[in-house]
């Protein structure tokens, strides 16, 4: 019998090892798997490379993971937002590395990683400083830059509905990187607000097919990052 459901977030992230490469879903607040990230803070794995669009807000979620000095390197497209305070401070002190990747290139590198494509050519960054040192190819009169696929040991993802096979539905713009990160990670770990029986999700509507998911943990009422920010909360509490 296939049952990808694990009972607690702690159990779901228990085998994340020092030096692991981890994709973390979310675009700002939307889709950030806060409970899984907090479980990873409790677990304590260090020297992590984190692939995520942003660097977290305030002192909770991804920002708290960074503040806890568990992250050695961030691969992201937009490391500073209005409410990101932790990353800028550590970056200024030289305590964390940054690989800056345009958002669409980041998405396609992740997609390629999950699809067995090792690299691809893209027009994005041609003529800019971000193309410096990269291989350029001219195809049909246009220039393209070579970008390599991204893969990860783990992905931490938030969704709305899942079944024990790992079939997933997301919520609105919280879908963002979830489907492609599930594909690109060896072990994708998903927190879901609702867990249903196989067959309850219409097969026509499945967004992430279960084959891309290794573990599902039910978090019925996930914390709201915005709410935590308004209350000026810090993790660990």
């Amino acid at each position: 019998m296939i049952n990808k459901v694990v009972v607690t977030a702690a159990e779901a992230v228990a085998d994340i090892f020092d030096g692991a490469k981890i994709m973390i879903g979310g675009f700002g607040e939307a889709g950030s798997p806060i409970e899984l990230i907090h479980a990873l803070i409790d677990q304590g794995a260090k020297n992590l490379t984190v692939i995520s669009n942003n660097t977290g807000n305030g002192h909770v979620g991804l920002a708290a993971l960074i503040e806890n000095l568990q992250v050695k390197k961030m691969i992201c497209s937009f490391p500073r937002t209005a409410q990101s305070v932790v990353f800028p401070e550590l970056y200024a002190k030289g305590m964390i590395e940054l690989e800056l990747v345009p958002q669409g290139t980041l998405a396609e590198r992740i997609r390629a990683g999950g699809a067995g494509i090792p690299a691809f050519y893209t027009p994005t960054t041609i003529g800019t400083p971000l193309a410096e040192g990269k291989e350029i190819r001219h195809i049909d009169g246009k220039s393209y830059v070579l970008e390599y696929a991204l893969k990860a040991d783990f992905a931490l993802i938030k969704c709305k509905t899942a079944d024990r096979y790992g079939n997933l539905l997301y919520n609105k713009t919280a879908r963002n990187f979830g489907p492609i990160m599930c594909m690109a990670a060896k072990t994708s770990i998903v927190q879901t607000s609702s867990l249903v029986e196989p067959g309850e999700i219409d097969p026509e509507n499945v967004v992430t097919p279960g084959i891309f998911v290794k573990r599902v943990v039910k978090i019925s009422n996930p914390l709201s990052e915005n709410q935590l920010l308004r209350e000026n909360r810090r993790y660990p509490w």
Binding site: F27, G28, E29, A30, G31, N53, S77, F78, P79, R80, T81, F87, P88, Y91, A92, L98, L100, V101, P102, Q103, G104, T105, L106, A107, E108, I110, R111, T122, P123, T124, T125, I126, G127, T128, P129, L130, Y170, N171, K172, T173, A174, R175, N176, F177, G178, P179, I180, V207, S224, E225, N226
Partner: protein, 216 residues
């Protein structure tokens, strides 16, 4: 320094909204470009795309009805129109890079006379670089419109011969809409299509580093 206010931001946005054809798929950058959505003339149907995964962005929700998981690229709460759809980031940027989005409106630090755009970094040494989707947008969307003030707050020209800030893309801008003029980037340089009534050609040229020609 010449003190000309020129058109308001809404008036500039309105000009852009008029120039975008009915039925277009449009991506709006963060900040000033967002004003275009509210200025679309009655009867025109435009579908707005936001790169974090929504086609059919609607107006902001009424206070109290914000949804943390329904936001735009600027991470502000939005709504979804009837007929909207959600998708993941790789699909979203396939729409952009694949040339499926017709128009994109962006802000700028500098635009050069050949249509080079600098809008992601001022190149300061200790600043944290952040690029987001800007480079993908200019690489993939065929019509890039710029909305900006004609000069900086300190009076420096923003329309220049060559950008001094790091580029977002080379030869990508189609039209520049400022508070003082509407300027097309053409194969033979910058051509002023419309000039604010309080402006004369000489003053406009003095506020512009790149040389302008005027469509008579």
């Amino acid at each position: 320094m010449v003190n000309i206010k020129g058109w308001s931001n809404d008036e500039i946005a309105r000009k852009i909204a008029i120039d975008i054809p009915d039925g277009s798929y449009v991506n709006l950058g963060i900040g000033l470009p967002e004003l275009v959505a509210a200025n679309i003339p009655e009867g025109k149907e435009i579908i707005f795309h936001t790169e974090n995964g929504l086609l059919g962005v609607g107006p902001p929700p009424p206070p109290g009805q914000e949804d943390d998981e329904l936001i735009n690229a600027g991470k502000k709460p939005v709504t979804a129109i009837p007929g909207a759809c959600f998708f993941h980031h790789a699909d979203s940027f396939a729409m952009i890079r694949g040339g499926h989005i017709d128009y994109c409106v962006l802000g700028a630090f500098q635009v050069s006379e050949s249509g080079d755009l600098a809008n992601w970094s001022t190149g300061e040494l200790n600043a944290i670089p952040a690029v987001g989707g800007a480079m993908d947008l200019v690489a993939g969307v065929p019509n890039i419109f710029i909305i900006m003030q004609h000069i900086t707050k300190t009076g420096q020209p923003k329309i220049v011969r060559q950008c001094t800030y790091p580029l977002t893309g080379r030869q990508v801008v189609k039209t520049i809409y400022t508070n003082l003029a509407v300027i097309d980037v053409t194969p033979h340089g910058l051509e002023v299509r419309e000039i604010h009534s309080g402006m004369d050609r000489e003053t406009l040229q003095n506020l512009t580093e790149a040389s302008l020609s005027f469509r008579s």
